[in-house]
Symmetry: C2
Subunit: 304 residues, 2 copies
């Protein structure tokens, strides 16, 4: 399969490298890493074993790549304004677009621009970061859940899942992408939000009764909103307790948004907070704490 | 009148100095400032004019002072556990206790320990801070609203108000102390809380639509709780907009709790947040944002 990686941060580089290693024809659209990758290829330092791809198809513009079978989108969501420029030149008649981006609203925007039938969504559980140019670090996890955005029924999601599995990625298809996206938000909204706001790791939040209670209240607001979105099967309230226990086992863990804030990077508050709030309150959900957290986070990260 | 000042921070030193200057017999219970005051007296640098009291009654223990007519309590509320030790030795048969402390729950605790008939509450609007030992800075305002805690009706609050007025303090009596305390919280909870949490001055909160909206939501939660407390006349919802406009005119202003946090001092979250929350939710008020703000503030100021 001829694949273009758009948004080659840690996520794009990591999955792209695995796909190339498994025999797919992968093309990376690069900025920061272009020179290093062109010269020395791509090095992956992974908990599953390091490897090096000495020769990689590295490009500066999508026009140089041309039409592909699959566009894998790993852009930070605040760069979604570049979809037309970056993805348009990669589209042929049957090109599929898979977004592995965070939060909500990405499939909707891709569908609006390029047609809903092209769009597939993936929820990625990956802990990775970029190292030196031409290097990527895979620290933990990596699972992907894939689903159709629109009602398309020709088995292509299962084919993509098989391709990822063959590349060594734990990948499965779901018939309820919406629920998978919201399930991830049940964790992401409280933990990414509170840890980034307070600059505390998850264990510190969970150790204090009041803060642990707040995490759970936030989770319940997200679950309530999710279940008004036309998911096939509601997320049970007990999912909140399950996520709390799951997180207890993570120990001293900093969510990605906390690290982004520490390192002065822009936060994905739109896709992870504002769009879920709009979808949730649009269906009548009450989300005062999620809204307050979004507001505080935006305010805390706005320069004076 | 023989008066003891207990809790001689900026507030106690300032009002005590004015009362002494006006001819009252004032005794200061001091710790940090004892040596300086004993030696050089008390200097007040005030927007209303500086003055110096060369001789001041300075003491290290309440036993040295003995029974007084009035105890003026200016302790930080997290020191209320010292009420018995600090106030007990000052009480004679008719001694009145006036608390000018922040937040809620102080009259209740004084009444429990020393009898409700002794207790008078005062809501102070004072902007002051301590300077060098033996010095106090009065930056703005200073108004006091006095009211009975229990149903006592012999005009003593009016007498105290007259005494403060004679000392140059803008002071009036109210027949609804509860309402006066809650009105102050309508401002204190959002602005002290958010400014201390975010380390932003009030103008930065008011300049952003989402944060301004959050301030108003917090105010409305406090007003809702106040109106369930048996106040004589409900606080109107329009009070929130009035407070927003009032604060717009303050410009670049840091509330005291923001300064306390900047300077690493303990915050009065109990009296300003947790007790109002207990009183409010105890009467069925919905206060999710106030509760969340209290939790975030406590978490942000808890050492790891």
């Amino acid at each position: 399969m001829r694949i273009a990686i758009v948004g080659a941060g840690a996520l794009g580089l990591y999955y792209g490298a695995l796909l190339q290693k498994s025999g797919q024809e992968v093309h990376f659209l690069l900025r920061r890493d272009y020179g290093a990758v062109k010269e020395k290829g791509l090095k992956v330092f992974s908990v599953n074993g390091d490897f090096h791809l000495p020769v990689v198809n590295a490009w500066r513009t999508p026009e140089e790549i041309g039409a592909v079978d699959l566009v894998l989108v790993g852009l930070k969501t605040f760069a979604n304004g570049s979809f037309t420029d970056l993805i348009g030149p990669l589209l042929g008649e049957g090109t599929q677009i898979l977004t592995l981006q965070n939060g909500l609203g990405n499939e909707e925007e891709l569908a609006r621009l390029f047609g809903a039938q092209r769009v597939i969504g993936g929820v990625a559980f990956l802990c990775s970061n970029r190292g030196e140019p031409g290097e990527v670090h895979h620290l933990a996890a990596g699972r992907i859940i894939l689903g159709e955005y629109a009602e398309v029924n020709h088995g292509r999601v299962e084919e993509l899942a098989a391709m990822f599995s063959a590349a060594g990625v734990d990948c499965r298809a779901t018939d309820d992408l919406k629920r998978a996206r919201w399930e991830k938000l049940v964790w992401n909204i409280p933990f990414n939000g509170l840890c980034a706001l307070l600059q505390h790791s998850v264990d510190r939040l969970l150790a204090v009764t009041a803060t642990r209670g707040l995490v759970k209240e936030l989770m319940l607001e997200v679950i309530g909103a999710a279940n008004l979105q036309g998911v096939r099967k509601p997320i049970p309230v007990s999912y909140a307790d399950a996520m709390l226990e799951f997180t207890d086992n993570m120990g001293v863990y900093k969510p990605s948004m906390q690290i982004d804030r520490e390192e002065g990077r822009e936060l994905e508050t739109g896709a992870i907070f504002r769009t879920p709030l709009r979808f949730g309150t649009g269906e009548g959900a009450s989300m005062p704490r999620v809204e307050m957290l979004a507001t505080l986070l935006e305010q805390a990260t706005t320069p004076p």
